[in-house]
């Protein structure tokens, strides 16, 4: 009833708030989407005025409320400098792409698309990666990265002159009769500068990463781009607060996501991206975690608050348009007659291609950057937004007396500020490109140390509902004096892992929360499970490291039987 009443009220409001809406469905086209042409404004992109992620003027982007002027990533400034991603090749591994969308067609690498719907390897290369069942996700992702600029129609990508290939990898066509691992490995490889992964597993369980996948990413950053390394960009997840019947327990609890739960999200070779909204705050869904590197625009729902303006599958009976009920821009109107565009795309799925686009701009500015250079520049040029060193509380007040749930930012001993919510902050495209242009820093030889182990036999009990927790230390010597990331492995048996918190204190005294307490992440044990943290970037790793395991909840008890640590850096 509420929904019906809301619909009656909202539909005319949405129409009213949309200055270009026709207010009726009269202009909606047939499924072919070819009954009329997009409005042409030579020399520009008429819809780019609604792309707040490129230039935030406080526009509504066809939602009900405006964003905040100036809260963007300075992408417009880079475009004004005529840096558009020329010569950069991006693989978009997603749900396929409508490469014939008029704003996507010219930038495609048509011979490099892939289609993993077949289980026969020889069928994967080439062809048209048109989405299965009109799933528009990949088309929206592609538009954010590389929609053609200044062609007189639609909007433009963050890297409007970059080239892309679409991989049809995500979808319900996978099954147990073939190897998913092989397809996953295959889409990590290829002659591309950037790989965009706006996908992942639901973050309510810890997903082990196959050693083959770890090796494949390592090979990619070691060998691709003539040894400079491919840039792997991945969406951090939309599990700030999640619910999944397979993952939550019988008291109706929600779970609180963590980047470290995802397969391959605990590796140093990927750049994990969180999402921001048009008001310059973290998006309401964005998964926090110590594996985050940076944040970029991802928007909110697109109805009440702005989402992202990007490409849709052509035709108003397809893609996002086909799922939307109300007349106006997203169902086709005078400025979007073929529904080639949507203003409903959101998620860290959106933040990832925005960052991929920024990296493309950086690589046009300086193609000699290595994968580590790119990460370094992003970290040092990011804008600290919503800055505070204050402690945070549990999203649903499941705190433990005497224990700080998290800090919004921590300042480490190397004077870097890191946040489980924002990573190093919001990407600043202008600053990153400017630094890339004159970049002369030698990060030295990359080292991944051996795992230093602390094996506990017998396993030690983790004190239950006790903020003191279980503390263990490992002393490191002759290890990198510039940390790029730190990984730990944990072996624990616990009747309810969702109670646990993990925090690591560096040799220089910085605390990183790797797993926040009372996450309700529903697992019962971990064997050599890897967590990563970027909070110690730039610190010297030599000295005593301390792991603290806190059991904050009453749902179970458990033990720690081993942990180990590895430093990645130079």
């Amino acid at each position: 009833m509420k929904l019906i009443l809301a619909s009656l009220i909202i539909a005319p409001l949405l129409t009213a708030c949309n200055p270009t809406s026709t207010g009726t469905k009269a202009s909606v086209n047939d499924a072919s989407g070819t009954s009329s042409s997009d409005p042409v404004v030579p020399g520009t992109d008429p819809l780019v005025t609604e792309a707040w992620h490129i230039l935030n003027t406080g526009q509504k982007t066809y939602s009900l409320t405006a964003g905040k002027t100036g809260e963007d990533m300075k992408i417009n400034k880079v475009h004004e400098d005529d840096i558009l991603g020329r010569g950069v090749r991006i693989a978009i591994s997603d749900s396929g792409i409508d490469v014939n969308n008029p704003d996507l067609k010219a930038n495609q690498l048509s011979s490099l698309h892939r289609d993993y719907t077949s289980n026969i390897q020889s069928n994967w290369r080439g062809g048209n990666p048109y989405p299965i069942e009109e799933e528009a996700h990949g088309t929206a992702v592609a538009g954010l990265v590389a929609a053609v600029g200044w062609n007189g129609i639609g909007s433009r990508g963050v890297a409007p002159s970059a080239s892309y290939a679409g991989f049809l990898f995500i979808g319900d066509f996978h099954n147990n009769t073939a190897s998913y691992l092989v397809k996953t490995l295959d889409q990590i490889s290829g002659d591309f500068d950037i790989f965009n992964y706006s996908y992942g597993y639901q973050g309510c369980r810890f997903m082990d990463t196959s050693q083959s996948i770890i090796d494949a990413y390592k090979s990619g950053v070691t060998n691709l781009r003539n040894g400079k390394g491919a840039i792997y960009v991945k969406a951090a997840g939309n599990d700030y607060i999640g619910y999944n019947s397979e993952c939550t327990s019988n008291d109706g609890t929600l779970y609180y996501g963590n980047t470290n739960t995802g397969e391959d999200q605990n590796l140093p070779y990927l750049i994990l991206v969180g999402a921001l909204n048009a008001s310059g705050q973290v998006s309401s869904y964005s998964t926090p975690g110590s594996g985050l590197w940076i944040s970029a625009a991802g928007g909110e729902s697109g109805t009440g608050k702005p989402a992202m303006l990007t490409t849709d599958i052509s035709g108003c009976q397809k893609g996002y348009a086909s799922k939307y009920s109300y007349p106006g821009f997203n169902r086709g109107n005078s400025v979007n007659p073929n529904c080639n565009y949507t203003s409903l795309m959101n998620g860290t799925s959106s933040a990832a291609p925005v960052l991929s686009g920024v990296v493309a701009l950086m690589l046009e500015a300086n193609d000699s950057l290595t994968w580590r250079d790119v990460k370094h520049i992003l970290a040092v040029t990011a804008d600290r937004i919503n800055f505070s060193l204050a402690p945070m509380i549990h999203p649903n007040y499941k705190d433990l007396a005497g224990h700080v749930y998290d800090y919004l930012y921590v300042k480490n001993a190397a004077n870097y500020y890191f946040s489980n919510t924002y990573g190093f902050g919001r990407v600043n495209a202008q600053a990153a490109v400017n630094m890339a242009k004159t970049y002369a820093i030698d990060l030295g030889t990359y080292v991944e140390t051996n795992w230093e182990e602390d094996i506990l036999s017998p396993a030690l009990n983790i004190p239950n509902q006790n903020a003191t927790g279980l503390e263990r230390t490992i002393d490191l010597a002759s290890t990198p004096n510039f940390i790029e990331s730190v990984q730990i492995k944990i072996t624990t048996q616990h009747t309810y892992l969702g109670d646990l918190g993990l925090e690591l204190t560096s040799a220089q005294g910085t605390v990183s929360k790797l797993l926040l307490i009372n996450s309700n992440i529903n697992d019962s044990g971990l064997i050599d499970y890897i967590f990563i943290t970027n909070a110690f970037y730039g610190e010297d790793s030599n000295g005593r490291w301390k792991l603290k395991v806190i059991d904050a909840g009453a749902k179970g008890t458990g033990t720690l039987s081993a942990w180990s640590i590895r430093i990645n850096g130079h």
Partner: protein, 213 residues
Amino acid sequence: MKKLLLGFFILFVTFLFFRQEDTKVTPIALDPKRGLDKEAVDISRLPASVNHPKRGKKIAPHLPTSTPMKREETKSYSEDETRVLSRGLRFIKNVYVVLSKNFDPNMGEIVKIQNGMTFFRSEQRPPEVANVAYSEIKGRYYPVSPVLKLANIDETSRQDLIAKGLAEYYYQPELKLMFVQSSHEKLLSLYDNLASESIEVEMEVITGFNQPR
């Protein structure tokens, strides 16, 4: 006057709907993971010092307390009915899996229903069912792919294995990985044969598929 009252009523109801964030009115499920509560708790992402004393609404539990417990119980299998795949992960003989919509009670005794799949025990292998692995530490069952991974296979070894009749599915030269196509029925025997030749062979346990974010 009536028009004025109607106008006030609409404004009032509109206010009620929109003051609690925008996803309340979202008419489209762009992503099933994007629950209503996510934006409703936005304020809790502020530092505690900012958040206090105006604490946001607590989130009401979504489920009645009678909802079945989803956490898994650990089960033990004897050595002779399993193969150790890795620490804590075992291949289970005589347990199979099909999509739940394809399960027929005559196939065998249900062991677990999980993620739309039915895991069941049967002494006689029904046709077109996949093999199963079990994680003791997580108490979860997983399907096993009919493709085997062979590690440390250089080009020479690769050609030798092909000459022996193995059906190559995929080869990754940089990683020296060879993937061999088998069938669900023959997977275990091929695995045992390759392992007996000191080849580093692994089964692929399918723990899930990636989804759009």
